[in-house]
């Protein structure tokens, strides 16, 4: 029942953003100029016109790492809440879980996947 507030806020915010954008479209002047919609490229003719070409696959591996560690945190949240009831057993259990995953982190570290744009040889 408490989510009604969240849903109402969601609806209100969606409405607000649509209103803001259309208000801007309504109020703004509309003068057609040939080069006004030319993408910003420091004022010179574009070398290759679309930017939507391939891009570095370092970003994809970063996404994988996020997936890995987010799932890990998802498991830890419930454990964190009930930790004091579990006592030593809970601590040892999760300690092992964390240990295995930090090995994953160390592996990624050694392989250089954590650097921003690692060069291909290191893989």
């Amino acid at each position: 029942m408490a989510y009604i507030g969240l849903l109402s806020l969601l609806v209100v915010m969606l409405g607000l953003s649509v209103v803001l954008i259309s208000l801007n479209w309504l109020l703004g002047p509309k003068k057609k100029e040939s080069y006004k919609t030319y993408p910003y490229e420091c004022g010179v003719p574009l070398y290759d016109d679309t930017a939507q070409t391939t891009f570095h696959q370092g970003y994809y591996i970063l996404g994988l790492l996020l997936l890995l560690f987010d799932i890990e945190v998802a498991y830890l949240f419930p454990w964190a809440v009930v930790y004091s009831l579990l006592g030593v057993f809970g601590f040892l259990e999760v300690f092992l879980f964390l240990l295995i995953l930090t090995f994953g982190l160390v592996y990624a570290w050694r392989k250089g996947a954590l650097d921003w744009q690692f060069d291909l040889e290191s893989l």
Binding site: S17, T37, P39, Y59, L65, L66, D70, A108, L114
Partner: protein, 348 residues
């Protein structure tokens, strides 16, 4: 509790959150420009209204009446969707933030929190990570090389610090033994200690993650104007260009710093001295002193962020992500270990 009363309460709470985003959010631009100006020995906006008080309104009107340009090679639907994806999640985080203690007006006792659910913190971080869509979409949709590079950089940072922020938040949750934000604050009041004193490391990690998530200076990569000319908002004009910094710099800083006050500085609890307990100079206000304390804490955090913003230079993008993965993450894991030992010692 009839339906109408419930409806009115929810409506009032939603209006309060709207006021925070549009009203206070806009006026924070004035605060930032004034603080930045005085640090740089100049007076800041003085012309519009007394000491620039009407400046945010003037900015808003200017942005609204600017021409709405759609770049030629951009795909329009994604281009406009990006704004919605950026604005909506940032404000939803406020839904789980408890502004003060329970109060009794007109015979009803109301909790000043829009959605009092028992998984408040997870909701907050979920909405936080939705911001990636707004950024990535705006970069890809506006089909300009600068926007794409800026967007992918910012997405990289948000991803790296999403992980760090969730690990850092585990510490206080273990101490408070609950996920609902309201209960975390109540736990801190019961245990008569703010979690900042028990978890200094995760407090520092959380602050850095806050700076990185919202793109404040040491991690100010997305609009490193010297390199990327305002990053992913390069192809946006008018109100759309106005919304991105509003969301990025003000709404998200407010929401994350309020999460921070809930987790570490004890929500609306008065000043805490580690071993003596609470000292409350506003005791005469009764329940309302909680609201004032909450506002004081959030504004102090905001001013600290500003102070940092106008002093420090900026990291390079690869240094930021390596710091996130190689320094912050191990620190957060180590912090979980420590809090695992501290948690049983705390009573209640």
């Amino acid at each position: 509790m009839s339906i109408i009363a419930l409806g009115i309460i929810i409506a009032v709470k939603v209006v309060v959150i709207l006021v925070i985003i549009l009203g206070i959010g806009a006026y924070l631009t004035l605060v930032e420009r004034k603080v930045a100006a005085h640090i740089q020995r100049r007076p800041g906006p003085m012309v519009v209204g007394w000491h620039g008080l009407l400046q945010p309104l003037a900015d808003g009107i200017k942005l609204l009446t600017k021409e709405d340009i759609l770049p030629s090679s951009a795909n329009p639907i994604l281009y406009n969707l990006a704004i919605v994806m950026a604005l909506v999640p940032a404000t939803l985080v406020f839904a789980v933030v408890p502004f003060g203690p329970e109060i009794h007006i007109f015979g009803y006792d109301i909790k000043p929190i829009l959605t009092d659910v028992n998984i408040g913190i997870i909701l907050a971080f979920a909405f936080g990570s939705l911001a990636v869509y707004g950024v990535a979409l705006s970069g890809w949709a506006s089909n300009s090389k600068y926007a794409l590079i800026g967007a992918l950089r910012k997405a990289g940072i948000i991803i790296s610090y999403e992980v760090v922020i969730t690990f850092a938040a585990l510490g206080p949750i273990m101490l408070a033994k609950s996920l609902s934000t309201y209960d975390i604050v109540m736990a801190q009041i019961h245990q008569k200690v703010w979690y900042i004193f028990l978890q200094p490391i995760s407090f520092v990690v959380f602050v850095f993650a806050l700076l990185a998530e919202t793109g404040r200076v040491p991690f100010d990569i997305q609009e490193a104007e010297a390199e990327l000319v305002t990053g992913f908002t390069v192809e946006y004009g008018g109100m759309k260009f106005g919304l991105f910094p509003l969301v990025e710099w003000y709404v998200e800083v407010l929401s994350l710093s309020s999460i921070l006050t809930v987790l570490y500085l004890g929500g609306w609890s008065p000043l805490n001295i580690p071993f003596i307990g609470f000292v409350d100079p506003f005791f005469f206000l009764g329940a309302w002193s909680g609201f004032i304390w909450f506002i004081i804490k959030v504004s102090i955090l905001f001013l600290l962020v500003l102070w940092l913003h106008w002093t420090l230079p900026r990291y390079r993008i690869d240094q930021i992500t390596t710091v996130a993965w190689k320094v912050m993450l191990p620190l957060a894991l180590f912090n979980i270990l420590i809090s695992a030992f501290i948690a049983p010692l705390l009573r209640g």
